[in-house]
Amino acid sequence: MASEVLLWQALNQAMDAEMEADDSVFTFGEDVALYGGSYRVTENLYAKYGEWRVRDTPISEGGFTGLGVGAAMIGMRPVVEIMTVNFALLALDAIINMAAKIPFMSGGQFPMPLVVRMPGGVAKQLAAQHSQRLEHTLMNVPGLRIATPATPQDAWWQLRQAIQSNEPIILLEHELLYFSKGMLDTTLEPIPMHRAVVRRAGSDLTLISYSRTALLAHQAADRLAAEGIDTEVIDLRGLSPIDWDTCIASLGKTHRLLVVEEDCGFAGAGAEIAATLTERCFYDLDAPVRRHAGLDIPTPYNGTLEAASIPTVSSIMEAARQLALEGVDA
């Protein structure tokens, strides 16, 4: 039943399954229809469901994201694709001031089954305007939920869960993961949408991450094992809400935490993760929680500098090594 697929294919199948199951589900964005989506996520859906359910839009991110909000208020299930997270800056009023607040401001009268999908992150030399991450901005908005699938299985589960939910949900997808492979079993019972997953058990130190850097952290941990550092890796799978219990349980075991994220370190998502876990596990920690994050610099176009501006497997290993040794007598 399980088969190997690319992450975009898992998303594509999830879209198809939900559109098939519920005719109030529809999707739109730039080039999602005829073209099939920049990252192929909506491939073939136009031919199958027609233009009203799979709609190419003008370049009007603020307007069409707001369109999703209005449609959700009457019970439609819009799935907005913002071509990349970078353009979502133009749609933040719709997301923050409308989608996240209408259910609250109306005293709980309106549903908001809105899904906004946005590819993002540092890809391959797309330069500063096309390499952003908005985690921090969205996390700070009560009323929004955020999922960050890093594997095809999670992509399949989380997109379906998001579409089925009546709350507004942002899917932050990573541009470099669409063409990554993984097993997908569509018959498996899904785990809760925001449950964190321990990708690798370990006892010396915990790495907490999400999205693409969770995969890098996993690779780093596998290699660190060879050096005798037994590392636990947690993929948060989402950023709002955060599954603190899974994290706390891990720290109770390892007493050391490195938070890994691609986002700029200063006021990035990692700040919240580090702050809360330090607060809650303070007396359990053998060393301060460390953050290994992107540099606080707009992403340079030059490839070498771009690569040096975000965590890599080896930089994660180095940060982990230091943390594993911190405070330990030689």
Binding site: P58, G63, G66, A71, F104, S106, G107, P113, M193
Partner: protein, 350 residues
Amino acid sequence: MKRNILIAMLRDMLLARAFEERAAREYTRGNIAGFLHLYPGEEAVAVGVLHAAEPGDYVVSTYREHVHALVRGVPPERIMAELFGKRDGCSGGMGGSMHLFDRERRFMGGYAIVGETYPISIGIAYGIAMRELPEAVICFFGDGAVNQGTFHESLNMAALWKLPILFVCENNRYQIGTEIHRHSAVTEVYKRACGYRIPAECINGMDVMDVYKATQSALQRIREGTGPQFLEIETYRFRGHSMADPGSYRPKVEVQAFQDEDPVTVVLEETVPDYPSAEHLSTIGKDNIEHLSGHIHREGFLSADQVERMRQEIADTVEEAVQFALNSPEPNMDDALAALHSNRGQEVLI
């Protein structure tokens, strides 16, 4: 026009005026806080437009929306309670003056960020069109709101996909203190619609019957499937922009500035307001409501006595609304959290 429609419209206009004037008083008394944007002078717009609409149509409004909600049938006491921030308010006390909502009556909200009504409206209309339903969306906005990017984006999409929306510009010639010729390169707002091939006309908002008729035919065209329609309705607001605004920029500041002998005078000359004078304004007060009641009189639809009785009933209604609001309990933090998580249901998140 039919007698009962005219009478119903007169009643709503009187109610609107009385409700708003009372809200102003309750604000002064401290029962209402925040920003309070009132509607006196503009009644004919909400009343004419919404009486021409069907109950199945959706209404999307701004922060100056009490009267839209009232005319739509949201009970006055639920609105007043919302202004008071009470639990029985139509938004449970969470929204306040700028965020009235009533799902049952398809009153889709008051929005406080200028320009939000457009995308909300095209979203609802998209759902209607996708389902091939006969309903329409009525989207209200001011003259100042016409310069927001969402206007452009939404009108383009509405026209491109022939969505069933009636765009209604309440042109009161002012964006807070900035007069229309100082905020818009084209002051005939309806001309903006031509960039999207949306049929548009300009209506005298002092005559509720004109507004009603224009809306009726526009809605009919929409239901025939011709796509969005656009009405610019010329109107006036008698008060300042909100209760926090004395409105002094209108004649006083300007006049005073003209007297100065400095180089700015030239500049200011270009900004001479063609807004009516304060005196003129105070007489216009009659127009909107008196225009209609004059007509009703002449046609012999209602006697002076009957109108007086109507006024009295309305005064009672408004008084009851205030009492209801005063007596309604305050919401508590659990109510707030329930509103925030109202869409969670049985979902297990973690």
